[in-house]
């Protein structure tokens, strides 16, 4: 099919493998901070969506009940995933702090 030829230039392939060694610690920190910020913003988006849908439901707007429930479940799962990631990070930090010098 003609469409499949587009997949030859996947954007991720172009970015990968370029100046990986040239990043300074500051840049690495910045990019880490940014991706963390983005991830948390996405989790927050789910919470806001759930909030908005609940608000719409109780004010009598045209929202299906299961949509509200599913949104709240999605928010709960994403938040739990975030908590798991945080636990892992804290665990790693504490492991390093326990290191005897």
């Amino acid at each position: 099919m003609a469409i499949s030829s587009v997949s030859l230039m996947t954007p991720t392939q172009v970015v990968n493998g370029t100046n990986k060694l040239n990043t300074t610690p500051y840049e690495a920190q910045q990019s880490f901070a940014n991706s963390l910020k983005e991830a948390i913003a996405k989790v927050n988006d789910q919470q806001i969506t759930s909030d908005n849908l609940t608000q719409k439901l109780i004010t009598g707007e045209d929202v299906e009940l299961h949509e509200v429930m599913i949104a709240s479940q999605k928010a709960s799962i994403t938040l739990n995933a975030t908590i798991e990631v945080r636990n892992k990070v804290i665990e790693a930090y504490q492991e390093i702090m326990r290191m005897s010098v």
Partner: protein, 153 residues
Amino acid sequence: MSIFHGMNTTASALTAQRLRMDVISSNMANVDTTRGKQVNGEWEPYRRKSVTFSAQEGRFSNFLNVAIGKNAKAGVGNGVKVSQIKEDTETPFKLVYDPTHPDANADGYVSMPNVDPLKEMVDLMSATRSYEANITVLNANKSMLTKALEIGK
């Protein structure tokens, strides 16, 4: 987010079954309605409505996402949608003899809607069960994700 793909698919099914339920409610409510709509100045009884489902596939956005490699799940569908709400024009209206009825014809017969309460009850049960089945799918989906969060505990 692609981890919620299954949930979104199930959500579309739930919405579709809710709409089906609404249509069944309308049929049941109008089981004795002799004035459904006006055709050429004459009142016609209510016609039974039924929903038609179609798979949500073959949309441009799906093909594009697969083509640029954003969505690896090429063969996985995107759920269901209600393609149309069709009026039943095949089944004839039931004729009931009631000369005192304002909508009776010259011979004293009133044409009643072509809604069969028995069929509607079966449809109703089917819709309820489908809804429940989809809820089960959703819960299984959720428990799978929560189980995944327990990896390494």
